[in-house]
């Protein structure tokens, strides 16, 4: 299945957002997620299924003004 992760094309076998995060090495890191521009809380990542063409955003704390 082909999706977009942080703007880059990504082929994955992950069926859920939680599985995708593990696949990408985000398992235990402090990140927040959105799928198709909608926020997905951490508690709902396991039940957030992924579909071909989904746009996933994974963000983490950064410097800001």
């Amino acid at each position: 299945m082909r999706i977009t992760v942080n703007g880059a094309v990504h082929d994955t076998g992950a069926q859920s957002l939680a599985a995708l995060l593990v696949e990408l090495g985000h398992g235990a890191t402090k990140v927040a997620t959105a799928v198709n521009e909608a926020f997905v809380p951490a508690a709902l990542r396991a039940q957030q299924t992924l579909n071909h063409g989904d746009r996933v955003e994974i963000v983490a704390p950064r410097q800001g003004g």
């Binding site: 890191t29 994974i58 704390p61 950064r62």
Partner: protein
């Protein structure tokens, strides 16, 4: 000290965390500034990089309140989603709401800002809107549920100071009970002092400190200026006049 959303702040100086030469200099700038609130952001994370964790560890060690922003968002929808992600990551209802409307000036988009503020206030966020000094916009933001306003002094990163003294004075006069924070545009401590002399409750700045030759020294300079400006405001300054008036008594002067 003023209360922002029921939390008493420990300093009237709020600092951004971006653009410092190194993490150590950032930490030293915070220490010397005495700032009690730090603005932070969210950006895309690559799995192996762990940049977010390193930054998170750094800001936790500062022992300050965190004010996440929605910097770079150009629509209400984008800002709302960013705010929701920030609330989960940083564990706070506080959000510095930025909805940018103009690429060159980074001027807030008042329409998108108000739309996002309404949504976020309804979701229980405590919104710090980055706004202009427009009285009508500010009144609408208060109606939407904002209990703090953060008008710009000048466009972000310019260091031009307070561009519209009349507008900022009018805003202070119209909303005497709403905490007002000058956000963006300050370049020098004297400009921060001026904001405090106008009766503003706090200032928020980043570039002026982070891009100074000695950020930690500049942070302390701003802290002193903010303190001096506030003290001056509380001391009730004299009214300026056009004509000279001798300060030394005329009476008793020798006739020579």
């Amino acid at each position: 000290m003023p209360r922002l959303y029921d939390r008493e702040i420990k300093s009237r100086l709020m600092l951004g965390t971006a653009q410092y030469p190194s993490p150590a200099i950032l930490a030293e700038a915070f220490r010397r500034s005495g700032a009690g609130i730090a603005t932070v952001s969210l950006r895309r994370e690559a799995g192996a990089a762990r940049e977010g964790q390193a930054f998170w560890d750094l800001i936790r060690a500062l022992n300050v309140e965190l004010l996440p922003n929605t910097a770079g968002c150009h629509s209400a929808r984008e800002a709302v989603t960013t705010a929701q992600m920030a609330r989960e990551i940083f564990g706070t209802n506080w959000i510095k709401l930025e909805v940018i409307g103009h690429a060159d000036t980074l001027q807030p988009d008042p329409f998108g800002l108000l739309e996002a503020a309404r949504i976020l206030c309804a979701e229980g966020f405590e919104v710090f809107p980055y706004c202009t000094e427009d009285l009508v916009l500010c009144a609408r933001l208060i109606e939407a549920g904002c209990r703090v306003l953060m008008p710009w002094g000048a466009p972000i990163g310019t260091g031009l100071g307070l561009n519209n003294m009349y507008g900022l004075r009018a805003l202070r006069a119209h909303f005497p009970d709403v905490p007002l924070v000058i956000d963006a545009g300050l370049g020098l401590p004297s400009q921060a002092a001026r904001a405090m002399e106008l009766g503003y409750d706090a200032v928020l700045l980043n570039t002026a400190v982070a891009r100074a030759g000695d950020p930690a020294a500049m942070a302390e300079a701003f802290a002193r200026a903010v303190e001096a400006g506030r003290l001056a405001y509380e001391a009730d300054p004299m009214t300026p006049r056009d004509m000279a008036a001798p300060s030394t008594p005329i009476l008793g002067k020798a006739f020579l």
